[in-house]
């Protein structure tokens, strides 16, 4: 029941593109984190597709580790968002220019 590999790869490329567009356009830090999750999921889909096609479990093991790193990233990232929100009462990244040199 396998459909051609190309379909899944094109789907993953589209998902990655949508995530990248959202990351570039949206200004809310929370939405930007969600867009990063979209891009990570696109890469995971590619890994699993390669794993199936090549008959190699290494792709699925990579997805396993990507998920762990994504969980750690979200934890620290949302901690930073909460800490910034306490000072600035906003989650917009446009107002975070105080580190400008």
């Amino acid at each position: 029941m396998n459909v051609p590999v190309a379909w899944y790869l094109v789907l993953a490329a589209l998902l990655f593109g949508i995530g990248a567009y959202g990351l570039l356009v949206r200004r809310s830090a929370l939405i930007m984190f969600m867009c990063i999750e979209l891009m990570l999921n696109a890469v995971n889909l590619t890994f699993v597709t390669f794993s199936r096609t090549l008959g190699d479990i290494a792709g699925q093991a990579s997805v396993f580790f990507v998920m762990v790193v994504a969980a750690a990233e979200v934890t620290v990232g949302l901690g930073i968002v909460v800490a910034v929100f306490r000072r600035r009462a906003s989650t917009s990244v446009d107002e975070l220019s105080e580190l400008r040199g």
Partner: protein
Amino acid sequence: MIAATYTIAGVLVFVTAAALILVGAVSVIAVKNPVHAAIALIVTLFGVAVAFVAESADFLATVQIIVYAGAIVVLFLFVIMFLGVDRREGVRVDPLVGQRSFALVGVVITIAGLVALMARSHWVTGATSVANGGAPLATGQHNVRQLGTAVFTTYLFAFEATAVLLIIAVVGAVLLARRERRADELSDDGEEVELAP
């Protein structure tokens, strides 16, 4: 090239997964309310889980539902509610002139480049004739066994490193989100005092 030995069921599963993924992803970047974006993110993650099942990654599909949709999105929703930012954000504001057009052009170039790069030769390996490389992957119970064997033998060091990474992330999140009580008690005007290192 790719052998076209696919069935109606496979096509239906793919179309369902693709519809879930694309509708959810577009909703994430299009809606104004962050809570709605988080719900749309769940739809996308569920679609990816459907694709995982169709590609014989049963364990990863389960983890996708439990960890991503269950834990990560709930964490998102918790922070949204905690900060009280569940109001509409001005999606139409354009701080940099023409940033939407530039973003769209860049993304289209990226997608076209990816597809062109893959379509020029074989989609997966870059070789010209790999029909189905090694042995097909096991499904169901054997998929868990296969993945577990790989993670706990070949990738044991990486597995231990992720354990350390998770500890660091938890400690870092606690440090970042902690509110300094002592500073509030010492200063009467309620100003935030810098944390001592």
